[in-house]
Symmetry: D2
Subunit: 358 residues, 4 copies
Amino acid sequence: MAGSVYGTVFRIMTWGESHGKGVGVTIDGCPAGLALCEEDIQTYLDRRRPGQSRYTTARSESDQVEILSGVFEGRTTGTPIAMIVRNMDQRSRDYSAIMDVYRPGHADYGFDSKYGFRDYRGGGRSSGRETIARVAAGAVACRLLAQYGITVTAYVKSIGVFEVQSARFDLAERDRNPLAMPDPVAAAEASDFLERMMAEHDSAGGVVECLVDGMPAGVGEPVFDKLDACLAKAVMSIGAVKGFEIGDGFAAAEARGSENNDSFYTDGDGKVKKRTNHSGGILGGISDGSQIVLRAAFKPTPSIARDQQTVNRMGENVQIAIRGRHDPVIVPRAAVVVEAMTALTIADLLLMNRSAKI
Amino acid sequence: MAGSVYGTVFRIMTWGESHGKGVGVTIDGCPAGLALCEEDIQTYLDRRRPGQSRYTTARSESDQVEILSGVFEGRTTGTPIAMIVRNMDQRSRDYSAIMDVYRPGHADYGFDSKYGFRDYRGGGRSSGRETIARVAAGAVACRLLAQYGITVTAYVKSIGVFEVQSARFDLAERDRNPLAMPDPVAAAEASDFLERMMAEHDSAGGVVECLVDGMPAGVGEPVFDKLDACLAKAVMSIGAVKGFEIGDGFAAAEARGSENNDSFYTDGDGKVKKRTNHSGGILGGISDGSQIVLRAAFKPTPSIARDQQTVNRMGENVQIAIRGRHDPVIVPRAAVVVEAMTALTIADLLLMNRSAKI
Amino acid sequence: MAGSVYGTVFRIMTWGESHGKGVGVTIDGCPAGLALCEEDIQTYLDRRRPGQSRYTTARSESDQVEILSGVFEGRTTGTPIAMIVRNMDQRSRDYSAIMDVYRPGHADYGFDSKYGFRDYRGGGRSSGRETIARVAAGAVACRLLAQYGITVTAYVKSIGVFEVQSARFDLAERDRNPLAMPDPVAAAEASDFLERMMAEHDSAGGVVECLVDGMPAGVGEPVFDKLDACLAKAVMSIGAVKGFEIGDGFAAAEARGSENNDSFYTDGDGKVKKRTNHSGGILGGISDGSQIVLRAAFKPTPSIARDQQTVNRMGENVQIAIRGRHDPVIVPRAAVVVEAMTALTIADLLLMNRSAKI
Amino acid sequence: MAGSVYGTVFRIMTWGESHGKGVGVTIDGCPAGLALCEEDIQTYLDRRRPGQSRYTTARSESDQVEILSGVFEGRTTGTPIAMIVRNMDQRSRDYSAIMDVYRPGHADYGFDSKYGFRDYRGGGRSSGRETIARVAAGAVACRLLAQYGITVTAYVKSIGVFEVQSARFDLAERDRNPLAMPDPVAAAEASDFLERMMAEHDSAGGVVECLVDGMPAGVGEPVFDKLDACLAKAVMSIGAVKGFEIGDGFAAAEARGSENNDSFYTDGDGKVKKRTNHSGGILGGISDGSQIVLRAAFKPTPSIARDQQTVNRMGENVQIAIRGRHDPVIVPRAAVVVEAMTALTIADLLLMNRSAKI
């Protein structure tokens, strides 16, 4: 219950620290009969792997996954699927500069307040490496969703103020540039901005957008386990996320009812469709059959190589400059994490929905 | 598991429909020894009660709460606290106009897709009356938090584009105007705007902001049950919420790391403080000891008295105009609901935190 | 989480005390579309109602149930089903004799140790009246199981040493005698024994046996949520139960493997059957398609009108004689409670099983 | 939710199959600050390791545990503790004889009914090797309980009809004989009996008894999460357990109230004690401060080398003789598993109890 369990039917437990032996996840509740192999997982992990561009940490990790259980003769058996990724580059270094210091923008002070001490090596459990476990589990969820024709796609919508323009939107472009932006112009602008941030020992944030296609109507529970509420928790649980929107999000607060309501219509084929999608695919917490659209705002990477004022464990005012290997921006690598959390949530609610009717 | 349970240690289950016998909630896990009486709850319920201004539904409900169990000689016993509010004005009327029609912006179509049929009277379980149960339970959570010096305060930040200005912020004003806005000028502007919306048979949305003061550092779990993730789910589970922010929220995505990081400092009294609060009181999912600041974006009320295009159960294109009693804007009554969900979440994580250390 | 929630998919929360306003239960997760009315529940409640024979408490309660939500036009809607039974005969009396005294065989001392104080009126939350809520919810579970051809039947197997003989077993007899024993001879013997106990101001225990027919194979989860493990918790959670067996139970520990193994066979109709049923219908925690057989051992009623030695809250040795209205034996009224807990457990695992395969 | 998660606050998830890569467990919710190393775990694992006597399987496994996360500088950090034991002797052999056949007394038929197929190698997830993960987690729970002066001790009470006599009870003897019986005479009798069973290609069952000392009063939740109900589930979830008793268990059903009630008394030191312990340390589901006593009945090992009648996947009547490496009796190795499940349950409820009072 200490927070490393996610999901109700499709349930995962993750473990691992930045500079420990590795990270991993166990899935309990994946239905039997799903074709699954390590390559299915690896494809997803490779999208968040570090060292693929000059905008990511130089930490050298191959992030190879090993499936330890739950798959037999190429199919899931219905029993727990355990997966592990060993850390390879938890280089031994001198932590004396930061072990007693609360880094601004990090969870260090919270951890000490909560547990009395902490694993100070590279953020320990609060490291971004924790998300490897989410992505591995999310890859399985994506495989499961694919069985039902559901696909989940995330990309970088903006970095700083540089935003993808819908007129130039090209999903294939996402996988061509190191910033995971589906717009080559926006990607170029963002690259320039990032170069400037790096030169100034500073960092940037951005927005990830995620689309779910093929979603049937009727998924999500009224009241507390609304589909959008569950997605909000899923996505906000990714480190550095400070805001979440579904559909029009905050813009809806400024709209009129007559503008914001999506009209239903039918072409006479028995299918209920909507003329617009301000709702982002969810009404009253239940999927309405149209595309789900969500966005997550990531704050800039808190680890910057500038001098910062802070306090240490001994309660003294001190100055700190963080010298480690850090991403100047994390959103490009975070897109697949948003996909993973979205897929885990939808898989869980989809299975839960199997008991909605007698 | 069908979504009417919230919380892990401080756990509630709610029930009830708009036009059924009433709504209610049971709390399992409230610690023993808390002084509690019906008046403590009623004060909160009165803040969301309809009929208090021309901007709310004309439905006449006194929303009197009855505590059925779990309190003995004025204190909670540690056993479940059941509470009920009977519906009084579930007036019998003719639902034939809407019983087979999917109202735009509502969960009707989702409900039918999920369950095969629905209680079509006034939205059934998806009615705003469902939030009575949240507020009743939230009032108990607020009482519990008060024991630890924690207070939760929500108000309307904006209606449409009319926003509270920090220079004019006056919390006492919140309880003086029917829009729950702590700024008389903004309230007046918003009133004018609402009059226009009502005249045009239209509706408005807005933003609720919520502050938590007295929060100790160390609350919230790393990874999935981050304090901000749990708050996001809590608040997004309120009907009509389309966006959520903590601290700087979406603005953080455009900031630089050097701007967004909050410096820690101490006055030599052993207390760790922050010079700024861009984080909104939470870092890495754990409270950092400063004020928690969150915002929720509410869409405009979907029930409007204009003609709208939609589809019915028989799969035919039809036109609908909703004639019932509806709020032209719900944010003024929703502020206390945001408080309730925030308090429930913090109470739960605070109790959970009792097992963080040996 | 304080222990008044049961189930995962078909989930209930109960509330209420012996001398409070009433007892109740809310079910979250009952599938939509089940025909249900108050009479369906009342039939079950009537079987545990007091005052139906000289062997039960004289407390006068009609135990009328009111369904408050979740049923529309005679069918469950998929949303929470709240039910309430008001207490009628919580007669005002003088509790000064027992309010500070720890009754032997009761939870009084545990309650004070746990919560610091307790509702001392008639056992408060630990009263047998708490089981009304279980029976009401269990009645709904039975209705659900009936949809799938599953029936649950419990009866008294023995009172003291007087046991139902299989040669004389007649289920119809169960409802003819006040001891719920399906054997008129055993019932007569047990009656004589109970008369003696009452004359001596003493009490008796007994064993309840429960059968589940129509059970499909494949229900129950390997490892922790084995069907028999879940049934054990369900039944052991009924006050006064001190032992639980499935199939041959403790006798299996003395058998040889060659005796205890049940051979599978088929008549060529594709159905897998067993020649014997030592397993009691469950193998490796999963139903094997044969009849489920379980037994629960109930201790004698701890409230007896004899002088007993004990301690009070002030830590003094004192003498107590309990003068209230108490059943000299509870097993006849407990049979339906065992049915209820069994049905709730099977309904939950049956729904959970819907996500076993893709 | 597929049944490989146990516990609420101190929560574990296990994984692994008999002939897969290994077995493992992750603990989420172990409080920070507990001194822990691999040797602490290994001591417990060694007690269930095979190959230590002629009464266990000849499978050669060293069962070495590796802690993968959650421990830093010798203490638990509050984050998940992942542990793995690699399988070493999952020898490749020909499973064609059993892959399509439902072994009597095993879960094979249930697995196929549930999941559509199964990992037929050595029982897959239903193998006794699954209990390694329980024991590893249980060892951590025991360390935690030791902090509070609580110890958990299990031993074999009987094998077949050969039972430990209280007059000869000597706990030290438990670790001296391969049957884990704390009575040398009973152990010798049981040995002779087992030799006979082995000669006859048959198997035996038995009873494990478990004691918990140092238990404070007030642990366990009223209603569904009673301490004894939770223990029942914990212990019944161990493969092959068919019965469970607390205190006097089934014997209590034949006792009178005046015999079965335990009198409370005090020596004037403020401590509340009991003159007898028929309750087995639990009243009304809450610990009463005396020793907890529970028993589990294990059926005889179902894998026997005799010809047995059964059915195969194709629905044909077939004959089977199981040739693998099997224990003629499992109770000696199961004692530590009962300890583990007991410790996990008590640790969980003990932590849960931290939120009982304000």
